[in-house]
């Protein structure tokens, strides 16, 4: 395809360019409110954390390569396993899928020029970065969280964990939760109100459905974790009683609140991956998604039903049978939306004209791992089996197939898929295919044997094990697999870095995708769309050529200011033109105030905490003194 002709005169494009061009230099990045820049900031930050989490994983795998290995001691190992979990979940997968992919793509996919609350978007990023640094500061100070990522009490109470390790955990996750909450509100408001005219809910890209479902799940799940962490801090710091039996509390209260958050969390992790899969599959199968409405519904249902299954993490705690069967029934129900999607994806590929380029290969790997992880997931709805195999390596295998296989593979595929859009250059296809196979083999070799050692009785979170239990060979294989996997990931990174500078220029639409992001130049201009498109189908880019539609006929250029149209929630009737705020220094300042307040809270300086709180409130005032309409 040739470059898209801009249907508006060069003068107006120039004017748009002038209005939307960001401040140059580092300051421009620090004060940016551009969703694309924030998306890239998220991407780089999350990849750093991914690397850290990966190093932690490899260290643990080396320690477990053979029985009675002494590479690290139990204390370090406990910190590694906790930080690995926290990093991968809170500092890598959620922020990369929502923060990086969501931020960059959602406005482009729905035909908007930015997110609904651009400054809050920047605040989300800075808070996220701050929470990550906060948690890793604990590592640097030798006090990283060490009670496992689900941090069960009483192990996490002062009595058994007197250092500040757990305080880093609790405060760090509250901070992280604040960032995710702000991001979730922003995504929903954006998807509800900023869709291009004509993009009714049924014409919305499935990726946006996934992001919408995730955002709602975050909003409804995070408060439980936040509250749990608040309770924990109140008990650790002020001697309140929530979790100790002597004071009338209950250790299971922690587990309830944690898993009310924690199970939806699992779906928060995989849903964006579903979204990425449903973006890549139609493009490379060269046909529309099979059963589009059912897939959209399935994405929402997964997030919704995910709230009703939390107690299946507690099947071994001795709850009444009646509770168990109730939640087992719900856990079985949650399988159905996933099977709907799996077969819809597969049928789309099988009934289309598929081209197995690298992104689709990664989606193929994703389907394989997701199905395997899903099948073991179904096994855990069988209560007696769950009660036998929970907290063993079988579970570790199960959720790594889900989290690495099913969530990270689409992320990797998505990196290749949208790389040309972001950089304007193609990645190296042959190297990409090699990198897929290395990663695929590495993943299988790392996580598949874990099923077997789990069945052989190896429990999770052990820093070492005895020889002679039949575990040794499998553990060695897992470690070799881990390094193979790391090699695959480095190949991908190498490919992307090399292609960034040497890749072939690709034009706006190298894969002939169906959604709106492929209608704009690569990389997209600061204002995204010179003319706000008018949408008539779920695949506007295809229908533009297929049916002779003209996306630009609406004629919304909006070159009078920093503007984007706002539409009605259900059917996207145009309602008003919004003035968007431009760059602002206040988000990063506010994030700094908040994180300093948290640091002081951790250090026990309540008064200084209050000072930073007041400074934060003043910052918020300064932020809102600048009203977009006045510019």
């Amino acid at each position: 395809m040739t470059a898209v002709d801009l249907p508006v005169g060069p003068q107006r494009v120039e004017r748009l360019e002038r209005i939307w061009t960001p401040r140059p230099g580092v300051l421009g990045w620090l004060t940016t409110t551009d969703h694309k820049r924030i998306g890239l900031l998220y991407l780089f930050a999350t990849l750093m954390f991914f690397a850290a989490g990966g190093v932690e994983a490899l260290t643990m795998r080396t320690q477990l390569a053979q029985a009675n290995e002494k590479l690290v001691g139990p204390g370090t190992f406990d910190e590694l396993l906790t930080m690995h979990g926290i990093t991968m979940i809170f500092l890598f997968i959620i922020p990369i899928t929502t923060g990086a992919f969501g931020n960059y793509l959602v406005p482009l996919m729905i035909g908007a020029r930015d997110m609904a609350f651009p400054r809050m978007n920047a605040l989300s990023f800075w808070l996220f970065l701050a929470s990550g640094c906060f948690l890793y500061a604990g590592f640097a100070l030798g006090a990283a969280p060490n009670a496992g990522w689900f941090d069960y009490v009483p192990l996490a109470l002062k009595q058994y964990d007197p250092g500040s390790n757990i305080d880093f955990y609790a405060l760090g996750l509250i901070l992280n939760g604040a960032s995710s909450t702000a991001a979730a509100i922003n995504f929903i408001a954006t998807i509800f109100k900023l869709r291009a005219p004509g993009m009714s809910l049924n014409r919305m890209p499935l990726f946006c459905y996934a992001v919408l479902a995730v955002a709602f799940a975050l909003l409804l799940a995070l408060p439980a974790l936040t509250l749990d962490c608040i309770f924990l801090e109140l008990q650790r710091r002020l001697g309140f009683h929530f979790f100790d039996v002597a004071g009338g509390g209950d250790p299971l209260l922690w587990q309830y609140l944690f898993w009310i958050f924690g199970h939806p969390e699992v779906y928060i992790i995989v849903l964006p991956a579903f979204g990425i899969a449903t973006s890549i599959i139609p493009t490379f199968a060269r046909r529309r998604m099979v059963a589009f409405p059912l897939v959209a519904m399935a994405e929402l249902l997964v997030a919704f039903i995910g709230f009703g299954v939390f107690a299946h993490h507690m099947f071994a705690t001795g709850l009444a049978t009646i509770t168990l069967v109730f939640f087992a029934a719900a856990s079985m129900l949650v399988v159905i939306p996933s099977t709907i999607q799996v077969y819809a994806w597969l049928l789309t590929v099988a009934t289309g004209a598929p081209r197995f380029r690298a992104p689709l290969l990664f989606i193929g790997g994703f389907v394989v791992f997701f199905v395997l992880g899903g099948l073991t997931g179904i096994m855990f709805t069988a209560i007696p089996f769950d009660q036998a195999l929970t907290d063993t390596y079988f579970v570790v295998a199960h959720f790594h197939f889900i989290i690495f296989g099913a969530a990270v593979f689409p992320i990797l595929g998505g990196l290749y898929y949208w790389f040309p859009k972001v950089t304007g250059r193609l990645y190296h296809e042959r190297l990409a295919i090699v990198s897929f196979w290395v990663t695929f083999v590495g993943t299988t070799l790392t996580f598949f044997p874990m099923h077997i050692v789990g069945l052989l009785g190896m429990t999770r979170r052990v820093y070492t094990y005895e020889p002679g239990l039949g575990w040794d060979a499998y553990n060695l294989a897992e470690t070799i697999g881990g390094f193979t996997l790391a090699a695959g990931l480095l190949l991908i990174l190498g490919n992307l870095v090399w292609s960034r500078f040497n890749g072939e220029p690709c034009g706006p639409d190298p894969f002939h995708g169906g959604t709106l992001e492929w209608t704009v130049p690569s990389p997209p201009p600061h204002y995204n769309f010179a003319v706000i498109p008018t949408v008539r189908s779920p695949y506007p880019n295809w229908d533009r050529t297929d049916a002779g539609y003209d996306l630009e006929r609406g004629g919304l250029v909006l070159d009078a200011g920093h503007e984007t149209p706002s539409t009605e929630v259900r059917d996207a009737r145009l309602e008003e033109i919004l003035s968007m705020p431009s760059e602002s220094p206040w988000p990063i300042v506010l994030a700094a105030c908040v994180v300093l307040a948290f640091v002081m809270l951790l250090a026990g300086h309540v008064l200084i905490t209050a000072v930073f709180g007041v400074l934060g409130a003043l910052t918020l005032g300064a932020w809102h003194l600048h009203e977009p309409e006045e510019t």
Binding site: G73, Y160, V368, F385, L456, G457, R461, G468
Partner: protein, 334 residues
């Protein structure tokens, strides 16, 4: 030995998990030694076959897609047919399968693994989790031991689990499912071995530094041997016989040992560490971390942190001869 009703193992084992069922280890959930665990293992094999079929259907469609990679354009689609296919494959069949699984596992299998109600078994054993060892009590007798649970073969034993500190989880894979030991709660699990043997188990809920070294051994014995064992355990500790042993006992009572450990029949009444009344009758030390040999015992007393970093037991500043005496005395506690 009674075999389970459903034994498709021979079919699948070689195919899918090479050598899985065969390879050693006495902590193997698929080597059941009880009716309850056999039903769990059967459940696993049934689910494995079901999963293989489900995964097969997915692979079939993937391969179908791969074979169509040469197509130039996609053929016109039939939306009705596609939706019907998705609903059938994605809703209809899974619903039937899941309902069957629900009834099979969560109604029938669960009955055989259910917690015994109090008083429903002839024998009860209290298991109390500690950081990082297991206290084992035989109610109705003065017997208190640690990390090794003797049970008679063929008789149902109600294990009543509690904890003295954090959450632990009691799991002996060859005998039954696991049960968490939670402060403020009393949980139960049934142990009923149908053959004699030594069945290893391990704490399954992360409990801190030495979670990895918190193992337990269930020894199922014929009834007569079990009775003999119990009778021996009921006796107070054997008095020291030699001068060295007497010195050992005196050291035990005057050094820090007695603050944490009990030896029935002496003045040592500590309750923080394991009861050592019949230490020498046990096969291992420190929750199966070390073999119970004089050399290992000696090194354990000198530097517990070496084998089990972070353990609560302090190192004792003893001279060589004092150590000899102490190990000699402890080694005599049969």
């Amino acid at each position: 030995m009674k075999r389970g009703f459903f034994q498709p193992r021979s079919l699948v084992a070689g195919l899918i998990v090479v050598g899985l069922a065969g390879c050693g280890g006495n902590q193997d959930a698929l080597h059941p030694a009880s009716g309850a665990e056999r039903s769990i293992a059967d459940l696993w094999w049934v689910m494995l076959i079901g999963s293989a079929i489900g995964f097969g259907s997915v692979l079939f469609l993937l391969v179908l897609g791969w074979r169509r990679r040469g197509r130039k354009t996609s053929p016109p689609s039939n939306a009705k047919l596609e939706t019907t296919l998705v609903v059938t494959l994605g809703v209809g069949i899974p619903v039937v399968v899941l309902l069957s699984l629900f009834v099979y596992s969560d109604v029938f299998v669960m009955r055989s693994t259910a917690a015994p109600t109090p008083g429903s078994t002839r024998m009860t054993i209290d298991v109390i989790g500690h950081d990082w060892w297991w206290e084992v009590r035989y109610p109705g007798t003065p017997v208190v031991t640690a990390n090794e649970i003797h049970i008679p073969v063929g008789s149902a034993v109600n294990v009543v689990g509690t904890t003295a500190d954090v959450i632990h989880s009691f799991w002996v894979p060859q005998l039954n499912r696991k049960i968490d030991l939670i402060p403020g709660r009393t949980n139960r699990v049934l142990l009923e071995a149908d053959r004699p043997g030594r069945f290893r188990g391990q704490c399954s809920e992360f409990c801190g530094l030495q979670h990895a070294h918190m193992a337990v051994l269930v020894i199922a014995e014929p009834r007569a041997r079990f009775r003999a064992w119990l009778a021996n355990q009921e006796k107070p500790a054997r008095p020291p016989a030699t001068g060295e042993e007497r010195l050992g006992l005196r050291l035990f009572q005057t050094q820090a040992c007695a603050g944490c450990h009990t030896i029935r029949g002496t003045t040592a009444r500590g309750t923080i560490g394991p009861d050592l009344t019949h230490l020498a009758s046990r096969g291992t030390l420190a929750a199966l971390t070390l073999p119970n040999t004089p050399a290992a015992l000696r090194s354990w007393i000198t530097d517990p942190d070496h084998a089990k970093p972070g353990v609560k037991m302090p190192a004792l500043p003893l001279t060589g001869s004092q150590l000899d005496a102490l190990t000699a005395y402890l080694g005599s506690l049969r």
